[in-house]
């Protein structure tokens, strides 16, 4: 049953999928054939078809992370044909649709590859390093209850808009996967920028950037060498300018704060 386009022809595809039993097991690429794939399907629905088929045959379905399938939760994380989230720019894996592929295509599907993101199983990876970076300082230290009236802190619209742009990061990790150094600079800089731009974040501005960068290093992410693949592959368009801002914030903090670590 086709959707909006009754003439859309179903496709047959070859999938080369990374299979790995658990974190310590040796992984390998396994080939699968999928048939009668509608171009109206999303990429993950195509994988659903594969998994239902595998399960019915008594084979282990392919594990992958996903949830909202609306491009906002940041769960989905497939490396498709050598690109984070696949061939379509500004798009998460769940919003990629099969009409971007052609009958007879071979599609290579791998997990995010980074030391800081160990594989749980197959295509599912552990991104808890991102949580620990936020725990190191990605917040404003206020308790519930003591906040002043929302309008007591006027914020110029352009500043609020820029902070919002940085705050839209979905934490998927495509920036790390796309980077040849597996650097987390775009992710970290988005949070640092958001809170450095807003007056609410100013009090802890210096310690925040120092602590978050330190945690990023502890987690084993690589250094930034200004290639820009992160921003190019980011599904929500987080700008490279944030990294420039992070570097500036970090330098100022190191030069002027009392934190000698």
């Amino acid at each position: 049953m086709a959707g909006s386009n009754p003439n859309a022809k179903p496709m047959n595809l070859t999938l080369k999928v990374w299979r790995q039993k658990n974190r310590t097991a040796q992984g390998q690429i396994v080939d699968y054939q999928v048939k009668d794939i509608s171009p109206e399907m999303s990429f993950l629905e195509m994988l659903d078809v594969l998994n239902e088929d595998l399960l019915r045959r008594g084979d282990d379905p392919v594990a992958f992370d996903h949830d909202c399938r609306e491009g906002i939760c940041g769960s989905c994380n497939l490396f498709i044909n050598g690109r984070a989230h696949g061939p379509e720019a500004g798009t998460t894996t769940c919003q990629l649709h099969m009409r971007k592929f052609s009958d007879g295509d071979t599609i290579v599907i791998e997990p995010w590859r980074a030391n800081a993101f160990p594989v749980n199983k197959d295509l599912s990876v552990d991104r808890s390093a991102f949580d620990r970076i936020i725990q190191a300082g990605g917040y404003v230290s206020i308790n519930t209850g003591g906040a002043p009236d929302g309008n007591e802190i006027p914020i110029p619209k352009d500043i609020a808009d820029r902070a919002f742009e940085a705050a839209t990061c979905i934490g998927c990790g495509a920036c790390v996967a796309a980077c040849k150094n597996a650097s987390a600079m775009l992710f970290v800089s988005a949070k640092v920028s958001q809170l450095a731009l807003l007056p609410q974040g100013h009090v802890e501005r210096k310690t925040r950037v120092e602590n978050m960068v330190a945690q990023m290093d502890i987690e084993g992410f690589g250094a930034c060498t200004n290639i820009g693949s992160c921003a190019a592959e980011c599904p929500v368009g987080i700008s490279l300018e944030n990294i420039a801002m992070l570097n500036r914030e970090f330098l100022v903090a190191k030069a002027t704060s009392n934190n000698l670590s």
């Binding site: 049953m1 086709a2 959707g3 909006s4 039993k21 658990n22 509608s38 171009p39 109206e40 399907m41 629905e45 659903d48 998994n51 239902e52 399960l55 019915r56 084979d59 379905p61 992370d65 949830d67 909202c68 399938r69 609306e70 491009g71 906002i72 939760c73 769960s75 798009t91 649709h97 749980n120 199983k121 552990d126 991104r127 808890s128 991102f130 949580d131 936020i134 725990q135 917040y139 404003v140 206020i142 519930t144 209850g145 003591g146 906040a147 002043p148 929302g150 802190i153 006027p154 914020i155 110029p156 619209k157 609020a160 902070a163 705050a167 839209t168 958001q194 809170l195 609410q200 974040g201």
Partner: protein
């Protein structure tokens, strides 16, 4: 048990303040002697966990996601209501209270809703202080927009990503407490049972989704913030993992389930395109401000359109039926969600639906594009138009969108008293998980408000009242109830794995979803509901004898996870049907075809049904017991909604 809603005495506007004074407090030095478990890290869970930890309690927070930030609160688009009256347009706490009670078709508790309206203003302050980047005016102050069901502008927003920004705010507060060691965070941990000791909730059993390890966790109190059950319909706008297991396990341990048949169908979603469809995507309600809803005037025209013999552009203006504008001249395309949804269904039932499946109506922007230009429309709705194009492959600037209603939210949930405590002492429910403040229909931009109200500003007070009466001695997992609950969880998992049948969990889920949508969806009648009940019972039997799984418990096994959730949906689905059958009236999202006005609108029966239906579990395959909490309205006058 007698249903005691524990609504404080006194005038409506003073109840919450008086109650806050009357509840017992836990001495600051004693707070660290109490452990609290919070299950779920969405808006309601993360805000509760952070706030309780800030007070000094030891919190254990659980999520089945890889990070607290993935919870489905993140997908909310429109905004969050608050009675700030920043726009000087006549808003007040009482008006927000009134709109919410009326929008809910008079099936919510006055006292709870009034409190919700009161604390709504604190939520905005709290979120701003956290660094949530709300939309602002050029003068630097907070911007508002209007939303369905209200005549004032009280909705705060962050473009079309309000839920994301609010959740990231709550997540940052939670992360701060994790760093301080006051919250212990358990990710990829799914709650599979509540442990009840001597009638009180004392812990939970969880399964680690990565290695299958079954764990026991103890605490002095347990808070469930595990969301709604819309995925019982298989297709909904909920995220794929959203499920009812935590709430349903609690129900089977003694927590009453209230108004399960109150589900919200959202009118503007992208229609189903095929059997493979895994979920539905909402297009924000705000589109109805400028889009016009129509179908071809005749069945013949619709048939030719579906067969591809004519294009939508070929249909002349006089052959288009703008049915909402025709039927509801006063509100037009802006009628409430339930009315818009039912009318779209009716058009499709008449054979006038569009798209290849015939299950869609048009939402047309041609007029506004002609009037203001495509650029201006793009500024307003650009991200939504892009999302639509990405999913459907069609350009909504050139041809009308196709939309169809989809399940979006569940107003029903665990019954709670004014303190948000369920019928099991020590077990609390917050956010969409409880039966909530929305009555039979939720207004737009009110879900975020309720989740954060419960978590930031209600539970931190009310849980103290319970804990102050609980000895601060450590709670351990030594009590045999823990081992028993763990054994039950293990036995259930082994049962799933040993059936070795032919049908996958998804296959059963789809089947159930079809029954629910067909017979317990937008319109219901006694005959269909009775039929569905028998079919669900049959399906449940088949599930337990023909389920197909592979692998073991001791690994990441997503099909096994799904099997547990579907097993619970198969029980909850039947209770929803029972509830819909027992409620012989139409109200809000619950439309019984037998109870309609002459014009086909919902007809309430306040004399007999102004109550909360709180269902009590009575044992496997036993009919549940219906307890009624009468709803008393002292501050609003009950009226029939009319949008003509």
């Amino acid at each position: 048990m007698i249903l005691d809603s524990k609504i404080p005495e006194g005038p409506l506007a003073e109840k919450w303040d008086k109650h806050k004074f009357n509840v017992k407090l836990v001495n600051p030095a004693n707070k660290r002697k109490y452990d609290v478990i919070v299950v779920g890290t969405g808006l309601a869970g993360a805000s509760a966990a952070a706030s309780l930890a800030e007070l000094g309690y030891n919190v254990k927070a659980f999520t089945y996601h890889d990070s607290p930030r993935r919870a489905h609160s993140i997908a909310a688009q429109g905004g969050i209501n608050a009675a700030k009256n920043y726009q000087n347009d006549g808003d007040s706490v009482f008006r927000l209270f009134y709109d919410t009670i009326k929008g809910g078709d008079y099936r919510a508790r006055e006292a709870n809703v009034y409190r919700l309206a009161q604390v709504s203003v604190n939520i905005i302050d709290q979120c701003v202080a956290q660094g949530v980047p709300f939309a602002r005016e050029y003068g630097g102050l907070l911007a508002n927009r209007s939303f369905g069901g209200a005549q004032v502008s009280r909705t705060f927003y962050a473009r079309g990503q309000t839920g994301q920004q609010l959740l990231l705010g709550a997540y940052s507060a939670l992360s701060r407490q994790v760093a301080y060691g006051k919250v212990k965070l358990y990710t990829r941990s799914e709650m599979l049972d509540v442990v009840v000791v001597d009638g009180k909730a004392r812990g939970i059993i969880t399964r680690n989704l990565i290695d299958g390890k079954i764990e026991q966790h103890s605490a002095h109190a347990v808070v469930l913030a595990t969301g709604g059950y819309g995925n019982v319909f298989y297709l909904s706008t909920n995220a794929m993992y959203c499920n009812a297991t935590a709430a349903w396990r609690a129900h089977k341990k003694g927590a009453y389930f209230a108004n399960p048949c109150f589900t919200q169908i959202h009118p503007t979603c992208i229609p189903v395109s095929g059997d493979y469809q895994s979920k539905l995507t909402l297009m924000s309600e705000s589109l109805r401000n400028d889009g016009r809803v129509w179908v071809p005037a005749t069945k013949e025209m619709a048939e030719r359109l579906r067969a591809g013999q004519i294009r939508v552009q070929d249909i002349p203006e006089e052959e288009r039926d703008y049915f909402l504008e025709r039927k509801y001249p006063a509100f037009g395309n802006l009628v409430p969600r339930d009315v818009a949804s039912r009318n779209a269904k009716q058009m499709c039932d008449e054979g006038r639906g569009v798209g290849s499946t015939g299950l869609a109506v048009y939402l047309d922007f041609a007029d506004i594009i002609k009037r203001t230009g495509a650029d201006s429309v793009a500024q307003k709705y650009g991200n939504l138009f892009d999302m639509y194009a990405k999913i459907t492959g069609e350009n909504p600037y050139e041809q009308p969108m196709r939309i169809y209603p989809a399940v979006h939210y569940t107003m029903g949930g665990l019954w709670v008293d004014y303190n948000l405590q369920t019928s099991v002492p020590g077990l609390y429910a917050t956010g969409e998980c409880n039966f909530s403040d929305h009555g039979a229909n939720r207004l737009g931009a009110s879900a975020l408000m309720q989740g954060l109200a419960d978590g930031y500003f209600v539970i931190p007070y009310t849980i103290g009242d319970y804990l102050a009466n609980t000895p601060p001695t450590p709670v351990t997992t030594q009590h045999p109830a823990f081992a028993e609950a763990e054994a039950d969880v293990r036995a259930r998992i082994q049962k799933f794995l040993s059936i070795n049948g032919t049908r996958t969990p998804d296959d059963f889920h789809k089947h159930l979803g079809h029954l629910m949508w067909e017979y317990c969806g937008m319109a219901r009648n006694a005959k269909g509901l009775t039929f569905a009940k028998a079919e669900i019972q049959k399906l449940r039997k088949e599930f337990w004898s023909d389920l197909k799984l592979v692998g073991t418990n001791e690994e990441l096994n997503q099909a096994l996870e799904k099997a547990g959730r579907v097993a619970d949906f198969l029980e909850l689905g039947e209770l929803m049907v029972d509830d819909a059958l027992a409620r012989n009236e139409s109200c809000g999202g619950h439309f019984r075809e037998e109870y309609a006005t002459e014009e086909g609108e919902a007809k309430r029966n306040d004399d007999e049904f102004a109550y909360v239906a709180a269902w009590q579990y009575a044992g496997d395959n036993q009919p549940e017991i219906l307890n009624k909490e009468p709803l008393e309205f002292e501050n609003v006058k009950l009226t029939q909604r009319s949008y003509k």
